[in-house]
Amino acid sequence: MFMSEVKIPVIGTLLALSIAVSSAMAGDKIQKNVDGALIYPIKNNSYQGYAVNPQKTNGFNHGRAPTTAEIKAWDIDVMPDGTGLPEGKGSVEQGDELYTAQCAMCHGDFGMGGKGYPTLSGGEGTLKNQLVNPEAGDEPPSRTIGSYWPYASTLYWYVQSAMPFPNPKSLTNDETYALVAYMLSINEIQIDGEDLDDDYVLDRAKFLKIKMPNEDGFYPEVNGDVGSKEMSKYLNNADNFGQGTRCMKDCGDTPIVKIAYELNDFHPTPSTAKGLPKEKEGEEISEAQKIYEATCSACHANAAIGAPVVGDKEAWDTLLKEKGIEEIYKNGIDGINAMPPKGGNMDLSDEKTKIVIDYMIQAK
């Protein structure tokens, strides 16, 4: 286990830190973990104020060993070195078809986004962009599979376990290969110097040769023997990501930036009012009732028009006995005498009209 041991005097040299650490820890060696966080020992059966039962806590015999089939069923992750990547194959063209049928509605044609869901292509050369001032024409970076993702293994694993969003874990190995091939092709990624044309077939062997354009775009190093050591160095020094100073007096000017573009699309609408909300009108109203009220009630709530009145059980019962429900549906849809087809609202589908008629017959 890698943990950095820091003695107080070392920390004490930094003005800002000495105040923070000295009192409680004076004299103690403080131990920090990989994340720069203090490791608190359990002392006198106490962990920072939480009492701890000091009795032995091992020697349990709970549970059982998983079977090989069980591990195989659940261990479907794919690692950058190819561990876990199954055999299979699929072409860019097959991927294109699958994409059009199952993915484009959310991720846009060619992964171009535009529908609120993540964009899956483009963005090369944008990673150094910093959108500080939109008015000065600053553009944001675009982090996509092609511009940002370091490993293709992540793509295979993620798509097979989490996509398509409404129906995940439904893609076969071959389909996943095809989709990955397609997504690489729309990002103009080559494999072993080869373009991914429509008839390109991706399989396991070729997959292992993929090098994503941004593979080296991340730090600290965490792979191989390095493990968490570099991460630990990075996180143990807050200067890397913004350390404050504990200035107390005359700490400089404080120019203020106010909200320029206020974002306020919130649901439900913010309020701290305590009064009881008004009975929500119409919440219980069915769609059929809404259509009835908007389109049909003008005539059907009024006996004078000669239309069977809604709520008049007898009138509807008589009609039902005379004509039967199918004929009534038909007349409602096609119209009869002064009854215009679909009550004059030709946007209503036949199905909806029938539902509204059902409502009218049953309404009290």
């Binding site: 203090l38 807050a238 106010k258 974002l263 649901h267």
Partner: protein, 436 residues
């Protein structure tokens, strides 16, 4: 039945013979009282809320068996989580519901108000079909049912969980004028479960095990890599949240708890722990939860939530518009650090020119929300209120400039710079940035 209603204004007692008339007659009292408010001095300051019998005091309340699972007062209907399409990936299934911090007291979030971030909706897991698999580089791979897991010795710890994207809309400047959307991607609870080190002591970790994959069983099968040092320090498998089972939104029946670390690492609906030699590089530690720097390179595996603080009262939702000059008022808020325990909080009334150390209050625990408090006299003069937290690991909350100088404005995650409220002379409160 005979009902007696006392009219305290006139000190008279009137009896009515039936319940059914009460509503009508009470209506009369209201008009009588209302009329007397218009009449001479004596009654002017009298408060109808005192003079008239309260409506809930003259009838039976609801019976003890009405709500087998208790619910908040209907008057608290605005104390709810809220969403915005801006912080969603397309729809409300890959989105976040923000916790109403402005309504919260103490250091525990009620379970129904705990912020909720999910990547494929909230899974509703059948506890009888729940299985946890632990495998990979362990001597004794294991499958546990929920009942078996709960047979391990349990501990309870109070920890916040914060999404590292909390406050992310502020990188370029202030954009939200409320606390809920500025900082509501965090909440806190007392979690109950077993320390992973206890379970692993029994299974035996193989010496080569350096990393652990934690994977959820939900639609997105969200997985993250965690280094063994954290696993053995204070990570837990938890099933309890504030004294009851985890809520589905928090991963019922079991989630991983990695105290003080990115919310995303606290994998919900936990299904599988695998130990290995290499990190997995899952989608949420490559495509997302990495911090793009001005150099064009991304920082990955930035696990802990840094030292941070926010004033929760006043705030835009809870302004001082009701105060009179000379009123004493408490400024209070929350400080927290994923790297240790809150050691001190400084307050500035002038946006950071001058600071003073103020008081902490309540429990002061590691990797936990800690309340701070300062009493002052409101003089009706504009203020710029800023708080600055310091933890025992030696971290000081940076100014916006100090942070941006290091990481630019496209990191998305891990924004912990000092927040400032502008309090106007009329008591209104606005979100502003100090860029000094």
């Amino acid at each position: 039945m005979n009902t007696t209603i006392k009219n305290r204004v006139g000190d008279q007692t009137t009896s009515f013979s039936t319940d059914s008339r009460r509503g009508f007659l009470r209506g009369m009292f209201v008009s009588v009282a209302a009329a007397s408010v218009l009449a001479p001095i004596k009654l002017k300051a009298d408060d109808a809320a005192i003079l008239e019998e309260a409506e809930w005091g003259v009838k039976l309340g609801y019976p003890t068996n009405k709500h087998p699972y208790g619910i908040p007062s209907p008057y608290e209907h605005n104390n709810v989580r809220r969403v915005t399409e801006l912080l969603s990936s397309g729809d409300m299934y890959a989105s976040v519901a923000m916790s109403p911090l402005h309504e919260q007291e103490g250091i525990i979030t009620p379970n129904g108000l705990f912020f909720n971030r999910s990547h494929g909706g909230t899974a509703v897991v059948d506890p009888d079909k729940y299985r946890l698999m632990i495998h990979g580089l362990v001597e004794k791979p294991l499958v546990l049912t929920l009942a078996q897991l709960k047979r391990y010795p349990s501990e309870s710890r109070i920890h916040f969980i914060e999404c590292p994207a909390n406050g992310s809309t502020g990188w370029r400047g202030p954009q939200f004028n409320n606390l809920q959307f500025m900082k509501g991607m965090m909440s806190s609870a007392e979690w109950t479960g077993v320390k992973l080190s206890v379970v692993l002591a029994d299974l035996g970790l193989k010496p080569k095990a350096k990393w652990m994959l934690a994977e959820g069983s939900d639609n997105s099968e969200m997985g993250r890599t965690i280094p063994i040092e954290k696993v053995l320090d204070d990570a837990m498998l938890v099933w309890g949240q504030n004294g009851e089972a985890l809520r589905p939104d928090q991963g019922y029946p079991v989630r991983l708890l990695v105290p003080g670390w990115e919310g995303n690492l606290n994998v919900k609906w936990l299904k599988r722990l695998e130990f290995g030699e290499e990190p997995w590089h899952a989608k949420e530690e490559t495509s997302k939860y990495t911090m793009l720097q001005p150099s064009g390179k991304g920082i990955r595996f930035f696990w802990p939530m840094e030292v941070n603080s926010i004033i929760t009262s006043p705030c835009p939702e809870k302004p001082w518009t009701d105060l009179k000059k000379g009123d004493m008022v408490e400024i209070q808020g929350l400080a927290w650090s994923g790297q240790g325990t809150i050691k001190a909080v400084d307050l500035s009334l002038d946006g950071g020119k001058n600071w003073q150390e103020i008081s902490l209050k309540g429990l002061i625990l590691p990797k936990s929300w800690t309340r701070f408090s300062y009493m002052m006299k409101w003089e009706g003069k504009p203020l710029l209120l800023s708080s600055r937290a310091i933890d025992d690991a030696g971290n000081v909350q940076p100014t916006i400039n100090q942070e941006v100088a290091k990481v630019g404005v496209e990191s998305v995650y891990h924004r912990n710079s000092i927040c400032t409220w502008e309090v106007k002379a009329n008591g209104e409160v606005n979100n502003v940035h100090v860029r000094g």
